[in-house]
Symmetry: C2
Subunit: 199 residues, 2 copies
């Protein structure tokens, strides 16, 4: 059975969502058509409103519907700390740790094979932001992947002449992890980064 054109178009369009394959998209389309048409119309409206209204904060490059986002405007935060991340979801993750400094959001990580160099990921905007601020430490919180490490290393080198501390988030055992299950590289980092126990 081939679906009718409008249903097929809906299924195809749903597949732009991350993690949604053909089967899931079919189930989503059927579910909305059979049981929640008003929800589907609200979703269409929310998509249009967000794509139209949400841009990037001119200061931290995070997603924002205002010229300068709430986090950047908040006067309660520590202006001496800047946390650099790869994407807006990472801001959300770091916020939940209780961090209360400022942020800068890169457009991903350096990826020479994909043609993504420093300009493409926003390094010059980062340097501009640092020059305009009064930071004493820049925390490089890119992902602990090969590309994330390379990106952190590249930025640290650029900052080395500026008299700023450039720090990197620690690697080690995830909480609740088991030694026999974690990969060797992580365990090696955990050992190398060991600290005296405070009693």
């Amino acid at each position: 059975m081939s679906f009718s054109p409008l249903i097929r178009q809906l299924i195809d369009s749903l597949r732009i969502l991350p993690g949604v394959g053909q089967k899931t998209a079919q189930r989503m389309a059927m579910q909305m058509l059979e049981r929640d048409r008003s929800g589907a119309l609200r979703l269409a409206q929310a998509l249009n409103a967000a794509m139209e209204g949400v841009g990037h904060c001119s200061r931290c490059r995070s997603l924002s519907e205002e010229e300068i986002c709430g986090l950047c405007r908040d006067p309660q935060r520590d202006d001496s700390l800047l946390c650099v991340v790869e994407g807006p979801m990472d801001v959300h993750a770091v916020e939940q740790t209780g961090f209360r400094g400022r942020y800068f959001v890169l457009k991903g990580h350096l990826s020479p094979l994909d043609g993504l160099g420093p300009e493409a990921i926003g390094i010059s905007e980062l340097l501009e932001r640092i020059n305009q601020g009064s930071f004493s430490e820049v925390i490089l919180a890119t992902n602990p992947t090969v590309e994330g490490e390379a990106t952190a290393h590249y930025i640290a080198q650029l900052l080395s002449s500026k008299g700023l501390i450039a720090s990197r988030i620690a690697h080690g055992m995830p909480l609740g992890g088991e030694l026999e299950l974690v990969d060797g590289g992580t365990l090696a980092h955990a050992l190398a980064g060991r600290r005296p126990i405070q009693l």
Copy 2:
């Protein structure tokens, strides 16, 4: 960090999709905003077009953007066989088996506790369809759940006076299944439904 209103609204709206929780909805929203705004706008358009343009086939009650759907109009199909299913996704599943009769799509199954009786799931439309057709067999392909069985049984009783064969899809071992892993009820059905081996 709380997301800005338009992003929050988008995340909430995405949660109407089956299997999409808060975390997945956040990832979907960020991904679209950061990397695929044109895809998101196409999705909004497809949602509007489908909710507006797709109704139900007046003959089989399946989803269709025409008064009578392609399957019902197809002159090549066997008019003596009617397959009754619980929803439009089931039509798709049965089609893939090579079945080439006609269909009738119920609105789910009987569920007295939820107030869903014969009228609510479209039993009278089914009877009307059967009366208008020239079927010799009605295959009850509702799900092999308690509610699906009860629904099949209910329909079979209604049809018993009409001189029609009302058949039920077989229960048994799924292909590739292992005896020690399958539940007892399934295995009991598989034993009771055993057949002589054709050599």
